[in-house]
Symmetry: C2
Subunit: 475 residues, 2 copies
C-alpha cells in the first residue's frame, strides 16, 4: 500500500492503529488476522458453553446502538459483542427444539466469513466471475437432482419467502395474467404465511389466494382443488397456480404431490412446491420417497438453511424452465458487460446479492451425499424415537411426514389443553428444553423440531418423561 493510502486506512482508527478498517492489497493485514482470530475464539467459546445456559436466554442489558463521535477500540467492541451474544438464542443447545433453526454447519460458518471477505456481488458476472459460474452450475445440479429436467436451474434467495414470491410471479407471468385482477392461487390451509405476503405484494385481490380446507392431517386433497377450480371458473376467475407444501410448519406434513401434479397438468395450472422444509429429501435416494412427485413440479422452494444446517440465509428457487425466471425478472443492466450466461441479478427479485452459494457449495462438498443422508436420517430417527417415547394415553400425536412432532391432548381432554400446554412448556423450560406453542385450527399444541444434531437419545428420554408425566397427571 502506498504511504498515503496506508495513512488513510490507519487514521480511521485512533486507538488501535494495527487494526486498519480495510485490509490492504499489498501485504497480509495483521490487524485483520488478529481480529478474526479473536472473533474465532469468542465464537468457539460461545458455542462450546451452550449447554451451560438456557436455549433461550433471559433478557439482557441493551447494547448501545448510536455510534460514538470516535470509534470504539477492540476491547470496547468485544465487550459489546459479548453482551449481544449472551442474549442470543442458542441453536446448538441440546434442548433447543422449538423451531426449524438448527445450529450452523461449521464449514458454513467458515464459508460465510470468506464470502464476506471476498465481498463479490452476484448481480453480474463481472463482479463475481468464479462465483457466478459456481452459482449457476450448483443450482443446475440441484434442480436436476430434484428431477426437474435438462432445462431446469435456479437462483439462490435470501429466504424462502422470496423463493415462494418469485415462483408465483413466474407462474402469473407464464399464464399471461400479469396485472390481471382475476388471477387466483390455490393452496391448503396449512400453507406458510409467506404466501399471504406474496399475494399482497403481487397485488392479487384479497381473495386472490384461496386457502382450501385440508384433510385431518393437514394435506391438500386434489378433490378439494378440483371443486374449487370449477367454482372459480364459474365466477369468471383465472386460477393459475397451485402451491403444494412439502413439510407444513406445525406438523411437517407433505401434500400428495403426485396426485396434485397430475391434476395441475390436466388443468394446465402451475405447480409450485413449497419444499422449504422437505424438498431437501429429494437430494438423496433413501429419503426421496417422502416427497415423491416433487419432480413433476414447475418450481420448487428448497431451503438448505433448515434441516441441512447451512447458515442463514440459504434458500434456492428451482425452476423446471430456467428461462422463465429470466423472462420474468430481467430488466436489463445497461451498466454491465455481458457474461457467459444470464446475469445473477436478472434471474430473480434481488439485484446485488452476496455469495450465499459459497456456503451451500462448501457444505455439500464437505458432507457428501452420505453426509446429507445421515443428517436427514438423524433428524427423522430422532422424531420417530420421540414419537415412540410419548406413550401417555392422554396424548395425541398429530400425523407428520418429516422431523416435526406436534403434540396435543386427546379430544376428550380439550378443555384442559391450553392450561396443560402452557404448564408443560414452562416445566420443560425449567429443565432446559425449549419447545414451541403453536395453535393449529384453534387447538393448542406443543411442537418439537428434531433437527438439532446435538440432541441425544438421553435428552429425548428426559423430554418424553416430562411430557408423559404432565399428561398423566390430568386423569
Amino acid at each position: 500500500m502506498t504511504d498515503r493510502a496506508a495513512g488513510l486506512a490507519q487514521s480511521l482508527h485512533r486507538t488501535e492503529p494495527q487494526l486498519n478498517c480495510f485490509a490492504g492489497p499489498f501485504a497480509p493485514d495483521p490487524g485483520l488476522e488478529a481480529l478474526l482470530e479473536r472473533s474465532t475464539a469468542l465464537l468457539v467459546e460461545w458455542l462450546g458453553e451452550s449447554a451451560a445456559h438456557a436455549p433461550r436466554p433471559a433478557l439482557t442489558l441493551e447494547a448501545t446502538v448510536a455510534p460514538a463521535a470516535h470509534g470504539l477500540d477492540l476491547e470496547e467492541l468485544f465487550s459489546g459483542l459479548r453482551g449481544v451474544m449472551a442474549g442470543a438464542y442458542r441453536p446448538n443447545h441440546p434442548g433447543a427444539l422449538a423451531h426449524l433453526d438448527p445450529p450452523a454447519l461449521s464449514v458454513s460458518i467458515a464459508a460465510d466469513m470468506i464470502a464476506a471477505g471476498l465481498n463479490n456481488n452476484l448481480l453480474a458476472q463481472e463482479l463475481s466471475p468464479s462465483l457466478s459460474r459456481l452459482e449457476r452450475r450448483l443450482c443446475h445440479w440441484l434442480s436436476t437432482r430434484v428431477g426437474l429436467g435438462a432445462n431446469s436451474g435456479g437462483v439462490p434467495a435470501s429466504g424462502g419467502s422470496l423463493s415462494n414470491l418469485m415462483a408465483l410471479v413466474c407462474a402469473r407471468k407464464a399464464a399471461g395474467l400479469a396485472a390481471d385482477p382475476r388471477a387466483v392461487v390455490l393452496t391448503g390451509s396449512a400453507a406458510h404465511v409467506s404466501l399471504s405476503k406474496a399475494a399482497a405484494v403481487m397485488g392479487l385481490p384479497p381473495d386472490g389466494l384461496r386457502a382450501l380446507p385440508t384433510d385431518a392431517n393437514g394435506r391438500l386433497q386434489p378433490e378439494a382443488v378440483a371443486s374449487a377450480l370449477t367454482q372459480l371458473r364459474l365466477e369468471g376467475r383465472k386460477p393459475f397456480a397451485v402451491v403444494a407444501v412439502a413439510g407444513t410448519t406445525v406438523q411437517g406434513t407433505v401434500d400428495p404431490l403426485k396426485a396434485l401434479a397430475e391434476l395441475c397438468r390436466r388443468e394446465q395450472l402451475w405447480l409450485h412446491v413449497d419444499g422449504a422444509i422437505g424438498a431437501v429429501c429429494a437430494l438423496v435416494e433413501s429419503e426421496r420417497w417422502r416427497v415423491d412427485g416433487i419432480e413433476q413440479a414447475d418450481s420448487v422452494t428448497l431451503n438448505p438453511q433448515k434441516v441441512l444446517g447451512v447458515s442463514k440465509p440459504s434458500s434456492v428457487l428451482l425452476m423446471r424452465q430456467l428461462e422463465l425466471l429470466h423472462s420474468s425478472f430481467a430488466t436489463g443492466l445497461p451498466y454491465m458487460e455481458s457474461g457467459d450466461g444470464p446475469q445473477g441479478g436478472e434471474l430473480g427479485l434481488q439485484g446485488t446479492r452476496a455469495a450465499e452459494v459459497l456456503k451451500l457449495w462448501l457444505s455439500l462438498q464437505h458432507l457428501g451425499l452420505d453426509g446429507v443422508e445421515r443428517l436427514l436420517a438423524g433428524a427423522f430417527q430422532r422424531a420417530e424415537r420421540l414419537r415412540s417415547l410419548l406413550r401417555a394415553p392422554q396424548l395425541q400425536l398429530l400425523g407428520g411426514d418429516l422431523h416435526l412432532v406436534a403434540i396435543g391432548l386427546q379430544p376428550h381432554l380439550a378443555e384442559h389443553a391450553s392450561a396443560w400446554r402452557d404448564h408443560t412448556h414452562a416445566e420443560l423450560q425449567q429443565q432446559g428444553f425449549w419447545l414451541s406453542r403453536p395453535d393449529l385450527n384453534g387447538r393448542p399444541l406443543l411442537k418439537a423440531v428434531l433437527g438439532n444434531p446435538c440432541t441425544s437419545d438421553h435428552h429425548l428420554e428426559q423430554l418424553a418423561a416430562i411430557i408423559n408425566r404432565s399428561a398423566r397427571e390430568l386423569s
Copy 2:
C-alpha cells in the same frame, strides 16, 4: 456432548474426525477452531496479495459442484476453495473502480462470521432475543438520524431492490390502491432498474411505472412530475408515489429532494427516496447537504453495503411511520410467542432472516461518526481529485453529486466515442485499472466509482494520465 451425539457428529466425517460437522454445546470445538483459523489464513493471504493480480481475474477452472458420495477432507475442500477464490473479483485492488462494490470493512467480516455461528433467526424475537432488539433500535437510530422523526423506524433487507419494493408496497397500501390497476408510480429516467422489477412483481400494469425525462444532469424536475400528474389524472389513473433518487447508478446525481418533497406533500403523494448510494450522507453533518430534503421523505432506502463497505448484503428500508411497514406486511405468526415489539418477520417481505444487523452495528461502533465522515470524505475527495486530473479538452465529465465520475467525449467527437471508450477500457485493464462501460441515453461512457479506500492519489494520477493521453490522441 453425550457419547452418542458426539459419535453422530464425528461419523459425519470419515477422514477428518477432529472436524465435527457442528460444534457441540459441551466444550469448545477444536475442529471448528482449526477450520476458522485456516480459513482466516487463506482469506488474509488472498486480500493481501490482491495488488499482484488483476482486479477482475481471467477465467479459471470450474469447480466441481456435485457432492461426491463421501464428503471431501479438509485438504480437498481448501483446494476447491482456493480455485474459486483465484477467480473472484478483487474489490480491494487499488484499480478496482468499476462499480459500487468496495472492499469489506474488516469488522464486518468478523461480524458475518459470528452471525453465521449464532445462526439466530430475525423472524421472531424468541429466535433472536438480543439481536431482534438490536435491530429495532439500530433501525430507529438510523431513521431518526436521517430525520424521519419520532415514529420512524425500519427494517434491514437483503439488498436495495427489496428495500425499494417494500417501500412501494407500503405506499400503494397507504393510498388504498392495493390491487388497483389504475395505480401509477413516477420516477426519473435515470432511476434504478430495481424499480421496473418492483412494478412487475407488484402487478402494476406495464405503464404503471412512468420514467419521466430528466434535465441534462439526470435530475428529475418537479415541473416534469407536475405535468405528468395532470395528464395521468385526466386519464383516470391514480398516481400514488414519486421515487426520487439520491445517487443515480451512472452519474451519482441526486434529485432535487426538497422541491420534490414539497410537491409530494401538496399533491398527497408518497415520496420514496432511493438513497441506496447517497442516503448514508445524511448520517453525518459534514455531508448532509448532499441529500438535503431527504428528511421529508416517507421512506428511504439506505445501503451500508455501498460506500461504507459493510459486507453484502446490507440495506435498510427506513420509514417515517414504522407502523405502516407492519400493517403492510404482517400476516400473523401463529406458531410464535409475541415479543416486546413487532416481530422482525412481520415488518417486511422477508421472513426468516440472518442477523445482517450485527455487521452494520459493529461497523458503525468501530468507525464512530468521525470514521463514517472520513470514509465518505475520502470517496468524495478521490472523485474530486480524479475530476481535476482529467484535463484533456476532448473529454466531457458528466455532472454528479457523489463519488462517481462518468467520463465521455465532447459532443463533436461523438462518432469516436464508442471506439475510444472500448480502446481506453482495454488499455486501462492492461495497466491494472478496471472501470465500467455504461451507456447513458445511448452515449458510451467510462465510469469510475471512487469508493475503494485502497486507491491512492498516485493511482488516480496514473489512471488520469492514461485517459487523458487516449483522448488527446483523437485530435
